[in-house]
Amino acid sequence: MRLEAIPAPSLARRVGLPAAALAATAALGSLLALVAGAEPFGVLGLIVTGAAGSKFALLETLNRATPLIFTGLAVAVAFRAKLWNIGAEAQLYAGALMAVLIGAGTPAVSGPLLIPAMALAAFAAGALLLLGPALLKTRLGVDEVVTTLLLNFVMLLFISMLLEGPLKDPMGLGWPKSEAIAKEARLPRIVTGLRLHWGFGLALIAAFLVWLLQARTTIGFEMRAVGENAAAARFAGMPVERTVVLTALLSGGLAALAGFSEVAGLKGNLTLDLSPGFGYAGVIVAMLALLHPLGVIPAALFVAGIFVGADSMSRQANVPTYIADILLAAALLLMALAIFLVRYRVARD
């Protein structure tokens, strides 16, 4: 048995297989609910209503999708150029750190420039964090999977040190958290009264801009060419190393915007549980999106919806929360498998 690429998958294949994955997830969810003693078919309804059944639920899902769009974009951009950035989690925290450093206490920048300054500083910090692994890769051939992955732990420990030390909120009752950012440093809501901040809007704009860059500019052409075939890109006269470094700067910066958006739009301060693994989930989002920048948006909404819906379902149906975890993992695996099978078939020799 071996895998065979399908040159031009049919529409039926592209729609049918992901639908089948959803159906299989649903079936598995019912089975698990049955085992846990709940009404099997009610569970699925609870997930859907939990994710999108009310205004509150929907906004919760959109809020949850916001950092996933940023990290998903970060990973999609990098993977497209065959730069395996597994460090979006660290870059996210680097961005969150900059947001707090500039926005907390008495902000150094005032007025309408404050929020852009926080965003720019966050982007720069994330970009710089990935610059090191990118240079090590292009200059010395060091595997960036290892360096970026390990930087996640370095960064988390660094943040932990800061939160126990210089950044510790004196009013925090001993909890390791930073001071809250100033009121004018907070991202406004998109619609007054609705709990959805502008981070979501920024994420959509970022996805569009990344798509524009990749599909319509010479730099994006180089990024894609280097990723698909670096030897041919070099032979055609493209600056391969420079392209990898540029990609790294963009990817790291995008991931950092997730941290900025979480701090400035939602949490208001920096804690060690700011991200429940948004950086790692970004890899899943990017893979589900087939690395397409615009595809990242529905992929992030899907992942966020399952996060939120499964969580809500476990509370309502009174089943253990780990059923939600299993369902989430199964949904992601099955969807990834379906998307893979859209383009490949298993052939027998």
């Binding site: 319509r216 010479t218 052409f221 894609r224 060419a225 075939n229 006269g237």
Partner: protein, 513 residues
């Protein structure tokens, strides 16, 4: 005892082997016999069908027609296990060893039964030591294969075959990757093996090796047996003529005087590939096709890298229209200097498989107007350009917005050449431009090269196909072991004479001079 190859029993016989790949006839009714204790060389140019024939014998391909008999018994077609069991061992051109395992582990791999894991490592070690002493194949049983030199790896491959009691050994271009010293050691080993009763088929296109080792030679050309002879009754010149064919295509180009030298190399050494370049001097003249004949892996890669902008000379000079190349010599600089390139490995270097035909058409020019302005791509201009190219060059495929990997090799090559020749380049580097293409595509591509030459461009044609080089070139250099022969004007040399230079003869006198 009978003299080897004289009256010995036939250990191997191929009768009427025919194999087609699509429209290509790779083997056409081939008969072949190997007797006990003899070395038969299978000689022929690349694409002559040697490797296909041996893969049929070893069971990796099933022949469309014909039978393989080993020790008088027909082998089931397409079954390597049966071939192994019958005593046929094959040493491939590209080794099939696991680099992270030791020598001993590699030899046991696939042979040792899985359900008896403890099968005395000590006994195995002793047997390996005995084998290696018997045949003079020195290896360290516990060395990691990844740490071995190429020559040592080859010894492991041969030992692997002997371990499985091979009585017939097939060696596919065994010296292609070896240094001359390693090659001599290999020959000594093989002679020892023959003395112990092994029979060997030795695939090569190097004349001097064939005459040094084999007792008999069978020459293949275009999938057929072109001739057979006992080594004692022939010479290198006769073999060369048999290999490349006496007939040479009629000249398809009108003679003309050369233009000025557009690219000159002066005593250039460069690394790259197995041998690199050793003191190469030559000039590419405008209005001429300069052919570079030679067996692949003799320095062509290093020369192409130099001209294409991927490498710089280590010593010596390289001048473009009289001016020495700058420190910023790169593919981009080469393109800017008006050098068009069709790479040897077109899939790896010439195209991005998942990009569309249109994107590949602008792969080298994407950042110039009209394909881009202010950093933004103009996709409409790119598409028009690609449509013009596929019309002019008759590139057939599913359209300019389809991925280029869907194109056949010939059509992809036409597109690469079309793209390269579109800006009317001053210099054209065509590296194996017609390798693997069908007759129609070959003719189309050769016509384009001649058109570029007639326009006044300097064309460097690197090809292993001596017929092609002789038919297209105004002047020919032969490359062998990184050295360049003097230029031979069109019509002054025949295939046999060039074949001798390709085999490395002729350089000796020059080195001494």
């Amino acid at each position: 005892m009978t003299e080897p190859g004289e009256g010995g029993e036939a250990v191997l016989a191929l009768r009427g082997i025919t194999k087609r790949f699509g429209p290509t006839l790779a083997n056409d009714g081939i008969d072949f016999e190997l007797r006990r204790g003899e070395v038969v060389a299978l000689l022929g140019e690349n694409g002559a069908g040697k490797t296909t024939l041996m893969n049929i014998l070893f069971g990796q391909y099933a022949a469309d027609e014909g039978v393989v008999e080993v020790f008088g018994r027909a082998l089931p077609a397409g079954n390597p296990k049966a071939a192994l069991a019958a005593g046929v061992g094959m040493v491939h051109q590209h080794f099939t060893l696991a680099e992270n395992l030791t020598v001993l582990e590699n030899i046991l791999l696939g042979g040792a039964p899985l359900w008896r894991p403890g099968l005395g490592a000590g006994a195995a070690r002793a047997r390996l030591a005995a084998l290696s002493a018997e045949y003079g194949l020195k290896v360290e049983a516990d060395a990691r294969v990844g740490d071995l030199t190429v020559g040592e790896r080859q010894r492991v491959e041969i030992l692997k075959a002997l371990w499985r009691d091979a009585r017939i050994l097939i060696l596919d271009e065994p010296t292609a990757v070896l240094t001359p010293q390693e090659a001599e050691a290999l020959f000594a080993t093989l002679q020892a093996a023959v003395a112990k009763g092994l029979s060997i088929v030795f695939i090569s296109h190097k004349l001097h090796e064939v005459t040094a080792l084999a007792s008999r030679v069978v020459v293949l050309r275009h999938g057929r047996v072109a001739g057979a002879a006992r080594i004692a009754e022939t010479d290198a010149r006769g073999l060369a003529a048999m290999m490349v064919g006496a007939e040479v295509k009629a000249p398809a180009l009108a003679p003309r005087e050369p233009g000025p030298p557009l690219l000159e190399l002066e005593d250039v050494t460069a690394s790259g590939g197995r041998v690199g370049l050793r003191g190469a001097t030559f000039a590419l003249h405008g209005g001429w096709i300069t052919g570079l004949a030679g067996v692949s892996g003799n320095g062509q890669g290093a020369l192409a890298a130099l001209v294409g902008g991927l490498a710089r000379p280590e010593t010596g000079r390289m001048r473009l229209e009289g001016r020495e190349i700058g420190a910023d010599w790169s593919p981009r600089a080469a393109l800017a200097a008006g050098i068009a390139r069709a790479p040897e490995d077109r899939k790896r270097d010439g195209m991005v498989g998942d990009f569309t035909v249109a994107e590949n058409a602008a792969l080298e020019t994407y950042r110039q107007p009209p394909f881009a302005r202010r950093g933004f791509l103009n996709r409409a201009a790119r598409k028009r350009f690609a449509e013009d190219l596929i019309r002019d060059y008759d590139v057939r495929g599913p359209g300019v917005e389809a991925p280029i990997r869907l194109l056949s090799g010939g059509n992809a090559q036409k597109l690469i050449l079309a793209r390269a020749l579109a800006p009317s380049p001053r210099i054209v580097l065509a590296d194996q431009p017609s390798r693997g293409l069908d007759v129609g595509a070959v003719a189309a591509i050769q016509a384009r090269l001649i058109a570029a030459r007639d326009r006044g461009a300097a064309v460097l044609l690197i090809s292993e196909d001596l017929d092609e080089v002789m038919a297209l070139s105004d002047v020919i250099h032969v490359i062998s072991e990184g050295r360049l022969s003097p230029p031979f004007r069109r019509g002054t040399m025949d295939a046999a004479a060039l074949g001798l230079w390709m085999a490395g003869q002729g350089f000796e006198g020059r080195d001494a001079a």
